[in-house]
Structures are given as structure tokens and as C-alpha cells.
């Protein structure tokens, strides 16, 4: 039943492909008729070979000037053929090469050599949101990746594609379960509010709300709530730009504080209709398991624990040691529960083409991924994207329409098996009975596979549509409107059927339960704009002004049902004996702004860029709704100065700087109102009302002042291109969910704190073309970020609720820990420094050693080799950081432990690394373990170097003119070098599946 609806989604997809096929036929027949028509004009076939001076170049576009309908592409051997008139001129263009114009001059064979154009890098237009700017002329800090890098990666989340590729952007995967989320920080954590550090996402001009969907009552599988970002399909993306500094982000005002991620989807290109089909398949496995004890080590630990505690008898439920379970049995639970290979299948089709005036692109994709867990869980995602560009004949009217639909169906176990895999006793019983049923070993254990009967299912439908229309009223004056609409529906269910329990307990379906969560979110945006651009002699002025109106409505409905006559009715809420509405709410968020940009360019040397925004948000109480933001950016292209023009080795030089303000309003809606909410729970026949929050009508915007200075240099025709940027962002008037003691009745409230958080750092990028020629190219890209986060000011920190969380002068991401002194050889217990010397180790006085858990530096090193049709691309990601070890309970209780714990104290005089084992009865030992996990001993080097991505592709030398065939091999996280002791070093919270190591093979056909 559950598969049915997605099956429908799948059907839609096949229909889409089918339509694609039909369209491709129709346009090819159109082209044929065109050809026969063109013979009238005495056309003849011109052919030849295009090379880079040495080797043939495949994929080069050849067109006839002034004739948009005639064009051709070179095949693998660099050979082309095109019909042209004897007096026509051929235009030959290829990325990375200078465009060449060659008159046919009556010839039938025209061989062409293209020259490398190393300076095209400077000519690339970078999307800055409301405007675009030439790479060489940008005054702001913008990092960028394009489809070339994105397509190399076998991943499904847009944030995964950016990992390790952008300076200043730190991304951590939170779970290896498909459909899970990523943590992103652009230039560090600005806000004390942990949930308020996400950037603003904009897809083709339409803001995309990244606030988590889903609920903790249904989704227990991920460490975080479901993120809607999975709805964005990386394969449909042309480029991702990350705006970082004030110059780039101030125009986004209140939402720009944490940076802006601009996503531009692929668009159709002028030319013949092309159909591309890519199919790949592969597998994923866990990168690294923890080293846990074997059965003999484990049992030795248990026995020693009983001895240490002075217990002479095993209790009836110490099944592992009292002989109930086989003492010789060993199961590697990590292999058993997390050791499968996730099957990955990916299928994509794209149809694109268009005339000079109108271009289109239609893409469809389907992706499925199973899990490394036992059982048949599956993540499925399908979607389609449509883009249409149109310009009127006189180029005055322009239209761009893009729409994307994504359907996701994620079916997972209710709990990640990672916790069980690490804690189950290694001699715990087998999972299955010989007859295939779950083994409960006479009710002596909880079979982890009971979890297979629970199910977390998440279905998400997502639609994003954007339209940009512009009209040039008079020359140089363009009016424009951006209109967008998004609609997201997410429904999650989690079932807890009675079959998860040991059948001996005779739990009936009367106890089965279902939890449901439905989220609907729709938003619209309208942004009228006006743009005036004027060249005044040696200077250019470009002015943009506009307004934003945005409204977003979200509704949530959470329900539960318990008591079913049969488990087969569990998905039917109407069949539940008791149903409850746990939450029903609706929120409205309205946002309004006016923005402007003035860009002044003088002599191609000096550029001044001013941006400003006035923002209003319904999230604030009356009188606090509006605020102004603005920035100034300045660039000096000194390489364009006359005194540098003659320089042979310096091809590009720019110094830029910017300063400005941005804000943050990520605090949720209605927080300023004193209200009661309906709890949906009846008591004495009355549906209850509960206080919604501790209200505070008096909070306003968080402001972030950003300062940046950067130097960009290109050498030897930009074959070496480097950027060094220094930044310092100070976020003040902190909008925080201030933690409160429970004695207030709540655990937090919303307020502004007079605290200042500073993020500063150095970002370094280097791109070199190491070798070029004879058909062989080798390029290297390096990005490196040194970042520092610091709490500069926090009046009253000592007496505030944050007094055990932050320290002035230290980063936000610190942990205050006990100072570990080692194991006392006499008592066998962990000991800690008594910092205040009062004779006892107490909280909080002695838990005061601040340990920084932010990365010291991070980055990526990418190398790309291409030779003829073969391309090899690989990326190493590296992070220098510390992190916490995996906290296990008291060693000696009935749970497995890290193998290293075998080095434990057992008799007075022992010098051991770990304290004495205890069954949990020895309170000092339990307390010491707890303190140990909260001490400096729990911090370890978690730096790593990882072969994040490797991609090899080979264009098969087919002798088919219109068909290209490429074979692709892609890998993700294939190698990891780390000293981290407890499994994979990339995680945000304990006990969840680490990122997977993925290898896929695929084939791409273009015709």
C-alpha cells in the first residue's frame, strides 16, 4: 500500500521520459526538414578536424554566424561536419578556448586550431543573486562550484556536493542513513542559538525554507529532524554560489548573516535538441567500525567487574556470564547490524535545446538507495525539472521560467542500529531461529531486529517554481519582476507494532501504535525591480532598486493512534481505539523589504559597490519589525593600471575590501506573543490549554557586521590563480533562546543578549594549470581555511544560564571539562584535578578546562587529469580538529566496550590506562566514568584526510556522429586517514551511522 503512491510517482517519471523521447523525435524531424530546405541556398557540407594545436578536441560547438539553426559538435576524433554557404563564416567555441571566427571562403575542408584562453576565468559571470557580476569585477566574496564538480559525485544532498570544495564553508554529514542531513556553517557560528546558523537558500531567485520538517515523534532515525534540502536534486544544478562577505550578503539584509547559498538550475542552450541519458549503479558501506572487545575479553571484563564489586554470585539476569548464554559464542554486531552494502541506483534523462529566442531543458531523475542495515529499507527519490528561456526578437522582453518537482519516499527502521551494534554483548544470542523467526532466547534479551518491524516512513513532495520577466523600457533601463512559489508536503509516520516485542510477553495489537506528522508549507514571493545601467565615458554606473514581498504559511498536524484489532490495520488511523491530536498549528511568516545596489566602475580599474536593504519581519513584535542593513565594497584591479599592463608574468591583480551589516531573524514565529495552545488532550471532558512559552515582546534583530579584505592574483596568463581573503565578522545583539533553569517552568525563552561573537579567518584558494598540451591537461585546485571563533563580550555571563557553557575569549563550540589526571593506582578509579583545591572534585568548580572543538583548519585539494577522452578527478578533504571519544557506560556492565578498555586496573599498584571494571553497583566507579566522559580524557584528535571524491570517465571512441557514450566510475569517501579511535571521525552526535563509502559505475549516452 505504501509503495503504491510512490509507484505512481515512478510512473510519472517514466511518462516524462516518454515525452522526452517523443519531443526529441519531433525536433529531429524538424531539423531534417530544415536541412532539405536549406539546400535551396546552395549549401554544401564543410568538414574538418578541430584541435588544440596537438590533439583533436571533442565536443566543440561549430555554428554558422547569423544562422542560429545550423550548428554541429565535433565527435571524439575532433571531426565535424556542417552545412554552410560558401560565403558564410564559421564560429567555433569551446570552454577554455578563445572563440574563433573562420570564413568558409568556398572550402569544403576546414581544419581549425583553437588557442587556449586562460583568461576566461576572469570572464565567468558569477551569480550574486539580484545581479550577476564578472569574476574579475566582483567586489564581494563569492565561492562557486559548477555542474562539472557536482556531477562527479554520487551523492543526493546538495550540501554533500560542496563538502571540501569551498573555502570558508564547513559541512559535516550528520548520518549515513539516506535522506539524512548535513550541518553547514559558512564562516563559523555567528549566533548563540544553535538552530539559527543556517544560511539562506535561494533556488533560481526563490527563497527556499530550510527549516527542518518532520517531528521528533516520528523521526528517531536521524540525529536531527528531516531537512527539506534533500528535495533539491544535485543533478539539476548548474552552479552553486556561496555569498560570504558583507558586500555580497547585505543585499539579503536580515537573512544574510549566515551567508547565502544561491542555486542555479541547468538551462537549455541554443543548438540542436540533445538527449542525454545517464544510468549508474553501485554500493555503499560503512567507512570504519569501532574496535570492540571480543567475547573472551568481554567475559574477562565482566567477571573482573563482579570481583571488583565484591559480588560472589551472578544474579539470574546476568545471562552473559551466568551460563545462560553460550560463553564461546561471538558475533561482530557491527558487521551483523551495519555491515551490509547499500545498493544505489541512479537514472537521469535530460532533453534540451532551443532556438536563438527560446531554449528549454527538461530533466527527469530517479534515485534509489537501500541501507547497510538488515531488512529491506529503501530511500527513493524522483523528480523533474523544467527550464524555459525566451527573449523577444528585439531582445527587450525576456522571460525565464523554471520549475522543479521532487518526490521522496524514505522508508527506514525507527532507530539507527548503530547504538545496538556497539553495545550488545559479543556473546549475545543469535538473531534468528533455524525456522527463520526472530530468536528471543527464552526472553533473556531484546532482539535488536525487533526494530525491523517498526518503520519510519517519510514522504515528501516538493515544488519550487520561479519566473523572472524583464523588459527594457528604454535603452539602459530595465524593469524586472521575480515571482516565485514553493509548496512542500511532508508526511511522516512511525509505527510501533506489537510484533517488536518478545512474543512470550503476549503483547497484542491492542498495544500497537502509530504516530503521524504532517507538515505543509507554502510560500510566495514577489520582487519588483528596476535596473539602470549607463556608460559615461570611462566609467559605468549600474543601479538596481527593488522590493520584496514574501509570505510563508506552515501547518503541522501530529497525531497518534493506539489499540488496533490487527497489526495489518496499523496504518489506518480510523482503526485505532484511541486517537489523539498531539499538535495542530499554523504559522504565518511575512517578510517585506526594499533593497538597492549602486555599482560604479571607473576606467576598468576602480569599482565601488554599495548595497542596502530595509527589512521588516512579522517575527518581531510591534515597534521592532524594521531594520536597515547596508554594505560598501571596493575593488582595485591594479593589473589594469597602465604601469602593470606590460607585465609579462602578472596577468591579473585585484585588491578588494568590503564592510557592512547583515541580520538574522531565525527565531521562529509568534515568539513575542503570550498565548495558550490547545494540547488536544481531554481531561474531565475538557480539551486542555497549555501556556505556549515564556513570552518576551521585546526582542529585535541580531546584527552581524562583516569586514573583509582580499587579494586576487593571476600569473602567466592565469595559469596560476590565487586568492587570499581575510575576514572578521562580529555578530551582536544576539537573538538567543536563552536557556533557563527548570524552576522557571520552561527551559528557554527568546531574547536579545548583549553578547558579541567574532568569527575571523584566512581563506586561501589556488588554482594551477600544471600541464597543458599534447591533449593532456592537469589542473589543481586547493582551498584552505583557517578560522577562529571567539566570544568577545557577554555582560553578566557569570550569573547567566550560559555560565557553564561559554567563556569570554573562547570559541562558542567549547566544552568545559574536568582535567583528567589518570587512574589512581591504589583505588583503581579515574582521578581528576581538584582545580579549586577544596579537597573534592565537584561540578562546576572543577569542570573548568575549556577545550575547543572547532576545526583549526580545513580544506580540499582537487586534481584533475584529462587525456583525450579520459578524465580523472579526485578530491582530498582534510580537517584538523579535536572531537570527543564515543562515551560508553561504566565498563563492566552488561554492554560491550572499546577494545582499548582491556587495559584496566585490577589490583592495587596497577598502572592502567582505564579504571577498574564495575557492574554498576560501585557508585564511585559509576560517577568516575561519568566524570571521565566529561573530562579532558574524552577529547582526542579527530583530524582526518579523506579521499572525498574520485571520478574517472572515459568517452568511448564510437564512430557515431551524433552519439556520444561515456563510461563513468565514481567514488565517495573511499579512503580515510585518521587517528580517531572510535570509528569514523565525521559526526555531530554520537550513536548514529557514519557517512558511507560509496562506489558507483555508470554510463552516459548523448544523442
Amino acid at each position: 500500500m505504501n509503495y503504491f503512491s510512490f509507484y505512481k510517482g515512478g510512473k510519472a517519471l517514466y511518462c516524462l521520459f516518454f515525452i522526452g523521447f517523443i519531443l526529441s523525435f519531433s525536433s529531429s524531424s524538424a531539423r531534417n526538414s530544415n536541412r532539405s530546405f536549406s539546400f535551396i541556398f546552395q549549401q554544401h557540407q564543410v568538414q574538418g578536424v578541430i584541435t588544440d594545436g596537438n590533439a583533436p578536441l571533442p565536443g566543440v560547438t561549430i555554428s554558422v554566424r547569423g544562422r542560429a539553426d545550423v550548428n554541429s559538435i565535433t565527435d571524439y576524433t575532433g571531426h565535424y561536419s556542417i552545412s554552410a554557404g560558401i560565403n558564410d563564416t564559421l564560429a567555433v567555441s569551446f570552454i577554455g578556448f578563445k572563440t574563433k571566427l573562420i570564413p568558409v571562403a568556398g572550402r569544403v575542408k576546414v581544419d581549425i586550431d583553437l588557442q587556449y584562453d586562460t583568461t576566461t576565468l576572469q570572464e565567468v559571470r558569477v551569480n550574486a543573486g539580484y545581479y550577476s557580476v564578472k569574476e574579475s569585477e566582483r567586489t564581494g566574496s563569492i565561492a562557486r562550484i559548477t555542474s562539472k564538480d557536482i556531477e562527479n559525485q554520487p551523492v543526493t544532498n546538495v550540501l554533500a556536493t560542496m563538502q571540501g570544495r569551498m573555502a570558508g564553508v564547513s559541512i559535516t554529514q550528520t548520518t549515513g542513513v539516506p535522506g539524512g542531513g548535513f550541518d553547514i556553517k559558512i564562516r563559523g557560528q555567528n549566533s548563540l542559538r544553535s538552530g539559527a546558523n543556517s544560511p539562506l537558500y535561494i533556488i533560481d531567485g526563490v527563497p527556499y525554507a530550510s527549516d527542518p520538517i518532520g517531528s521528533g515523534i516520528t523521526n528517531l532515525t536521524f540525529p536531527t529532524l528531516s531537512s527539506p534540502l534533500n528535495s533539491i536534486n544535485p543533478n539539476f544544478i548548474e552552479s552553486i554560489e556561496v555569498l560570504k562577505d558583507a558586500d555580497a550578503t547585505s543585499i539579503y539584509g536580515s537573512r544574510g548573516s549566515n551567508g547565502v547559498v544561491l542555486i542555479t538550475t541547468k538551462k537549455g542552450k541554443v543548438g540542436k535538441t540533445k538527449f542525454t541519458l545517464t544510468s549508474s549503479t553501485g554500493g555503499g558501506t560503512v567507512t570504519k567500525f569501532m574496535d570492540l572487545m571480543s567475547t573472551s575479553q568481554y567475559l574477562a571484563m565482566r567477571k573482573q567487574a563482579f570481583k571488583n564489586d565484591g559480588l560472589t554470585e551472578y544474579s539470574p539476569w546476568d545471562y552473559d556470564v551466568n551460563g545462560t548464554w553460550d560463553q564461546n559464542r561471538y558475533t561482530d554486531w557491527q558487521k551483523e547490524l551495519l555491515g551490509r552494502t547499500a545498493q544505489i541506483t541512479d537514472l537521469q534523462g535530460t532533453l534540451s535545446g532551443g532556438s536563438e529566442n527560446t531554449q528549454f531543458m527538461l530533466s527527469g531523475s530517479y534515485h534509489s538507495q537501500s541501507t547497510v542495515f538488515p531488512g529491506t529499507f529503501m530511500y527513493k527519490k524522483g523528480g523533474s525539472q523544467f527550464n524555459l528561456n525566451h527573449a523577444s526578437d528585439n531582445r527587450k522582453f525576456r522571460l525565464n521560467f523554471s520549475a522543479g518537482v521532487t518526490l521522496q519516499n524514505n522508508d527506514q527502521p525507527s532507530f539507527d542500529f548503530s547504538y545496538d551494534a556497539r553495545s550488545l554483548a559479543p556473546n549475545a544470542p543469535r538473531l534468528y531461529n533455524p525456522d527463520g523467526s526472530l530468536n528471543w532466547e527464552n526472553s533473556t534479551w531484546t532482539n535488536p531486529l525487533g526494530n525491523l518491524n517498526t518503520e519510519f516512513e517519510s514522504k515528501t513532495n516538493d515544488l519550487t517554481a520561479g519566473t523572472a520577466v524583464s523588459y527594457e523600457i528604454i535603452p539602459e533601463l530595465i524593469v524586472k519582476a521575480n515571482l516565485g512559489y514553493t509548496n512542500l508536503n511532508n508526511s511522516e509516520t512511525r509505527i510501533v507494532p506489537s510484533t517488536i516485542y518478545d512474543p512470550a510477553y503476549e503483547v497484542s495489537s491492542e498495544r500497537s501504535a502509530i504516530f503521524l506528522n504532517d507538515v505543509k508549507r507554502d510560500s510566495w514571493i514577489a520582487e519588483p525591480q528596476i535596473n539602470w545601467k549607463k556608460e559615461l565615458g570611462t566609467s559605468t554606473i549600474d543601479i538596481l532598486a527593488g522590493a520584496t514581498f514574501q509570505s510563508q504559511r506552515s501547518t503541522r498536524l501530529q497525531q497518534s493512534g493506539t489499540g488496533f484489532t490487527s497489526n495489518s490495520l496499523i496504518y489506518d488511523l480510523a482503526a485505532a481505539k484511541v486517537t489523539k491530536v498531539l499538535l495542530s498549528d499554523e504559522t504565518l511568516y511575512k517578510y517585506q523589504a526594499f533593497f538597492a545596489r549602486v555599482n560604479y566602475k571607473y576606467k576598468q580599474c576602480y569599482i565601488l559597490n554599495l548595497t542596502a536593504r530595509r527589512d521588516g519581519s512579522s517575527r518581531f513584535g510591534p515597534g521592532k519589525q524594521f531594520a536597515n542593513f547596508g554594505a560598501a565594497g571596493l575593488a582595485w584591479l591594479f593589473s589594469n593600471e597602465s604601469f602593470f599592463m606590460q607585465n609579462k608574468w602578472l596577468s591579473f591583480g585585484k585588491i578588494r575590501t568590503s564592510y557592512g551589516t547583515t541580520g538574522n531573524d531565525q527565531i521562529g514565529d509568534y515568539q513575542f506573543l503570550d498565548t495558550y495552545s490547545n494540547t488536544g488532550i481531554l481531561y474531565n471532558g475538557i480539551p486542555g490549554l497549555a501556556p505556549s512559552r515564556l513570552f518576551n515582546a521585546d526582542f529585535g534583530w541580531e546584527t552581524n557586521k562583516k569586514l573583509e579584505a582580499a587579494l586576487e592574483l593571476g600569473f602567466f596568463g592565469d595559469r596560476i590563480f590565487t586568492t587570499v581573503a581575510w575576514y572578521q565578522n562580529r555578530s551582536s545583539n544576539q537573538l538567543a533562546g536563552v536557556p533557563l533553569p527548570g524552576s522557571t517552568g520552561f527551559t528557554s525563552y527568546q531574547a536579545n543578549l548583549d553578547a558579541v561573537v567574532q568569527n575571523s579567518g584566512l581563506e586561501f584558494t589556488l588554482r594551477t594549470v600544471n600541464f597543458k598540451g599534447h591533449g593532456f591537461t592537469w589542473t589543481t585546485n586547493l582551498n584552505l581555511t583557517f578560522a577562529e571563533n571567539k566570544l568577545l563580550k557577554f555582560p553578566g555571563l557569570e550569573s547567566s544560564a550560559y555560565n557553564q557553557q561559554y567563556r569570554i575569549g573562547e570559541p562558542l563550540n567549547i566544552k568545559l571539562l574536568y582535567s583528567f589526571k589518570g587512574v589512581d593506582p591504589q583505588t583503581g578509579l579515574y582521578t581528576f584535578e581538584d582545580l579549586n583545591g577544596d579537597g573534592a572534585v565537584t561540578f562546576p568548580e572543577d569542570r573548568q578546562v575549556a577545550v575547543n572543538l572547532n576545526p583549526q583548519y580545513y580544506g580540499g585539494l582537487q586534481n584533475q587529469f584529462s587525456y583525450k577522452g579520459i578524465t580523472l578527478d579526485f578530491l582530498f578533504q582534510f580537517i584538523k580538529q579535536k572531537n570527543r571519544t564515543y562515551p560508553m557506560g561504566t565498563a563492566g556492565m552488561m554492554a560491550n566496550q572499546q577494545q582499548r578498555k582491556t587495559d584496566s586496573w585490577s589490583a592495587p599498584g596497577d598502572n592502567a590506562a582505564y579504571q577498574m571494571f564495575s557492574t554498576g553497583y560501585d557508585f564511585p566507579a559509576v560517577m568516575a566514568t561519568y566524570s571521565y566522559n566529561e573530562s579532558t580524557a574524552s577529547v582526542t584528535d579527530a583530524s582526518f584526510i579523506r579521499l572525498k571524491n574520485i571520478s574517472i570517465s572515459y568517452d568511448l571512441p564510437l564512430d557515431l556522429k551524433q552519439t556520444q557514450c561515456r563510461v563513468i566510475l565514481q567514488g565517495q569517501n573511499l579512503l580515510t586517514f585518521t587517528k580517531y579511535v572510535d570509528g569514523d571521525p565525521e559526526f555531530t552526535s554520537y550513536g548514529f551511522l557514519p557517512p558511507l563509502k560509496i562506489l558507483t559505475a555508470g554510463i552516459q549516452l548523448t544523442f
Partner: protein, 460 residues
């Protein structure tokens, strides 16, 4: 050309002006459909009552009085000597059984946070009602019930954590820096709340289901509170005030005591929905051995005399062929039924007899004490108590409380504690027991966020 230019500029100005004018009104959002402002809630008695009754469902579902294993009925039974835990070692519940609670224990934090949240909600009702335009009678009812709740929660918190802050208003600016006050002062305030509640609330029982507190309910809790601070004459008086309501309350046969319509019930928490029964029954009852979570300790099961009806009707054994495990069987339903059969009982009549017996014994009224004690013994088909001296009678009452009130809201642990017998009774039989375990640790987070609550209780 110029005219066009002019027109465009005029149009732009106009639209800019309209935009600015429409500015403020665009950002106005109407109140969310699912929320009411606090002022509106207390303008109407029905919504004000909803704000009050919601606290009872909250009491039932979370924190101290929750019946599902996380509440004290289960955890304190493990913490003392009534139950044995076979919970998964990773479950923080196990640390109650091993008496090794950490300041970060989820359930301990829950008792504190839910407790003060319920107190906040009660204070919000008190303040909301006071400022409202409701009738005097309506205000009396709201204030009376809210005061009862405030007293009830503080009573449990002071017994679990020792010196605690007494919170009597909603302003978080004050509540975030509250200080702990001595236990005796906390008791004074609890007693003041309960006394006022017993005056404000109606005496006549208008609530057939006994799920809303009335004056007698307040007096019953008052009797217990007074006993805990050794105010024996007053405790006996309040207990008598309850016991005198013979037309409403009377002892039932053991198998009927925990039924929804039991005449012994003074106050109970209505179950979560029609057909739902108690969370206690759901958690305690097991049908196959070994038990999944907890079972009764041998020391408790073997304390019953032969023929004690409570052993046969309130305890049930389940065997795996060799060993028998016992579970509390006071509540007999562990599944929903067509109509709810049982609600979670917080206060019942037999406790009042035992309160008065103890209070009378302390005052030297040995005959009266034995009379009350024998009422309870007779109901269990036992003969008169053989106790003669004051000490013997007090010991007999103490034992009777153990047998009568086992696994009900922590009675056993609190009795051991208030009579100073914790170390003597638990020290020998519980491996992890330590004198400082008489108090729970204050939640770690609480000490972090409110320095005024430091230092931590001894031993943690």
C-alpha cells in the same frame, strides 16, 4: 521620449510610495488559529478551566506522578526495596535500582523540570484568574485547585531533593535566580497552600469520577503533609475530617479498591482516553517470565502473612518453569478496554486510616491507633494487631503501610526516610546504598543555569 521617461519616473515614484504605505499592514499577522492569548483564556470560564485541567493530564503523563515507569511509583520502588529491575543496562532507570543516580539522569531532571512546569501552569491560572473578570465563585474554584496542585508538586519535590525553591509566581526574571529555602519553610508554604485550597474548594462531592480535587482531597493531602512534619494532632484532625465523610468514602474489598468507581478513592487521575486504563498497569504487569522491566522483590513478597488478601489479590506471580517472578497487580488492566475500568489513584482512604493510626499512637491514643490499624487489617482478612506498646504499634503501622501502599507514589521510600530507617533497612540489602542517597542529586543543568542553587546535594 522625454514624456515616456517622465511617465516611467512618475509611475515608479507612485509605486514606491504605495509600497511604503502598505508596509506596516503587510507585516501584520493574525493570531495563530490554534493559540489564544492569555488574557482571552481567562475571560471565559470554560477556557480558564481548560488551562487548569490540562495540568492534571500533564501530571498523569509526565514527571513525578506519571505511571509509566518513569514516575516515582516505579522508580522509588526500585530505589528502595520493593522492586528488582531487569531493565536494559543502558536505560537510566537502572541507576535507580543500583542507587547510583547521576546529576545528569534524565528522569531526575524530568521530575524537576516537569514539576516546576506544572507549578508554573498552576501559578499562571492563579494569576490569570485574579486579573480576570470572572465571578467570585469561579475565581475561588480556579484558585483553590491551582493552590492544591502547587502544594502537591512542592510536596514531592521537597521529599526528593531536600531544600528547594518554592515558586509562587510566573515571572521568569525572578524564577531564574530563585534560591533554595530550608525544608521546614517549604513545608510551611505547602501547608498554607493546602489550607487555603481546602477553604476555597467545595466540600460536597460534585465530581462523580473523583478526578478533580475538592476540599476533602486538599485535607487528605494536608493530613499526609502534617504527618511528615510530625504535627500529629493536626494530622489526625485532617485525617478525621476525611474519614468522617462516610457517605462518600468507605473501604472496599481488596479486589475492588483500584477500580474506577471505587468508594475508597479520594482523588485519581483520569486515564488518557475512553477505553484507556492506567499506565501503572501497563508497565508493571507481565505475562511471561523472566520479566521485561521490573518485578517485586522477594523481601516484599515474603513480608505478607499467610492469608493476607492483599497478597492474593494485589500481587501476581508468573513462572518460567523454575522461578516465579511477581508483579504488582493492584491495577489489573494492561490493555485498553471497551470502557475505562481503572484510573491512576493518587490519594485513597486507607492511607488516611494509617495516618490517623500513626498520629494517634504518637499522641498516646493507643486504643484509637489500634482501632484505625485494625480497620485496614480486617479488610485484608487479618486478625487484630498483637501490638501493645506505643513502639510496637508504631512499628505495626509502619509495616502495614509497607504492605498496603507498596508501589504507590513512593510511599515506602518516603516512610523509610521520614522515620530515619533508610540506612538500617536499605544499607544491608542494597549493594549500592549510601547515606547520601536519601536525597536525589539536583539536575546538572539546573546547577549550570542557576548558580543560586549550588552547591549540589552531598554525595554527588
Amino acid at each position: 521620449m522625454k514624456t515616456i521617461n517622465l511617465l516611467v519616473i512618475r509611475w515608479l515614484w507612485l509605486s514606491a510610495i504605495t509600497l511604503f504605505i502598505s508596509c506596516d499592514s503587510f507585516l501584520e499577522v493574525e493570531l495563530p488559529k490554534t493559540q489564544l492569548t492569555a488574557v482571552v483564556v481567562f475571560q471565559d470560564y470554560h477556557t480558564a478551566e481548560a488551562a487548569l485541567t490540562d495540568i492534571y493530564s500533564n501530571l498523569r503523563d509526565s514527571g513525578i506522578l506519571c505511571g509509566d515507569g518513569t514516575g516515582i511509583s516505579n522508580q522509588l520502588a526500585n530505589y528502595a526495596d520493593e522492586m528488582v529491575s531487569s531493565e536494559n543496562p543502558s536505560n537510566p532507570s537502572i541507576s535507580f535500582y543500583t542507587n547510583s543516580l547521576l546529576p545528569s539522569n534524565n528522569y531526575v531532571t524530568g521530575y524537576w523540570n516537569f514539576g516546576y512546569h506544572q507549578i508554573y501552569a498552576a501559578n499562571a491560572v492563579i494569576e490569570g484568574a485574579e486579573k480576570s473578570s470572572l465571578t467570585a465563585l469561579q475565581k475561588k474554584q480556579l484558585r483553590g485547585e491551582a493552590l492544591f496542585i502547587r502544594g502537591l508538586i512542592h510536596f514531592y519535590l521537597v521529599n526528593l531533593f531536600g531544600d528547594i525553591p518554592f515558586v509562587d509566581q510566573t515571572d521568569f526574571k525572578i524564577n531564574r535566580t530563585v534560591k533554595r529555602i530550608p525544608t521546614a519553610q517549604v513545608y510551611e508554604k505547602i501547608i498554607a497552600d493546602l489550607r487555603e485550597a481546602s477553604v476555597l474548594l467545595r466540600t460536597s462531592d460534585t465530581d462523580r469520577n473523583r478526578v478533580r480535587p475538592d476540599a476533602i482531597v486538599a485535607k487528605a493531602l494536608l493530613a499526609r503533609t502534617l504527618l511528615y512534619i510530625n504535627a500529629y494532632p493536626e494530622a489526625a484532625n485532617e485525617a478525621s475530617a476525611v474519614l468522617n465523610q462516610v457517605q462518600t468514602y468507605s473501604l472496599e474489598q481488596p479486589e475492588k479498591v483500584f477500580l474506577r468507581a471505587s468508594r475508597e478513592t479520594i482523588w485519581q487521575l483520569e486515564s488518557g482516553g475512553s477505553g484507556q486504563n492506567t499506565a501503572e498497569g501497563d508497565y508493571f504487569i507481565f505475562t511471561s517470565a523472566p520479566p521485561p522491566y521490573v518485578s517485586l522483590s522477594n523481601s516484599l513478597v515474603s513480608s505478607f502473612s499467610p492469608g493476607d488478601l492483599r497478597k492474593s489479590s494485589w500481587i501476581k506471580g508468573v513462572s518460567d518453569g523454575t522461578t516465579i517472578w511477581y508483579h504488582p497487580y493492584k491495577y489489573k488492566e494492561n490493555n485498553p478496554t471497551a470502557e475505562s475500568k481503572e484510573y491512576s489513584i493518587v490519594l485513597r482512604l486507607s492511607e488516611q486510616y494509617l495516618i490517623r493510626a500513626e498520629a494517634r499512637a504518637w499522641q498516646g491514643d493507643l486504643i484509637g491507633a489500634k482501632e484505625d490499624l485494625n480497620k485496614i487489617r480486617h479488610r485484608a482478612a487479618l486478625t487484630d494487631t498483637p501490638a501493645l506498646t506505643q513502639k510496637e504499634i508504631l512499628d505495626a503501622v509502619f509495616l502495614e503501610r509497607k504492605l498496603e501502599l507498596f508501589t504507590e507514589t513512593g510511599h515506602r521510600f518516603f516512610d523509610l526516610k521520614r522515620t530515619g530507617r533508610l540506612d538500617a533497612e536499605l544499607g544491608g540489602m542494597k549493594k549500592g546504598w549510601d547515606s547520601s542517597d536519601s536525597l536525589f542529586p539536583l539536575p546538572q543543568n539546573e546547577l549550570s543555569t542557576n548558580p543560586n542553587l549550588r552547591p549540589q546535594n552531598p554525595g554527588y
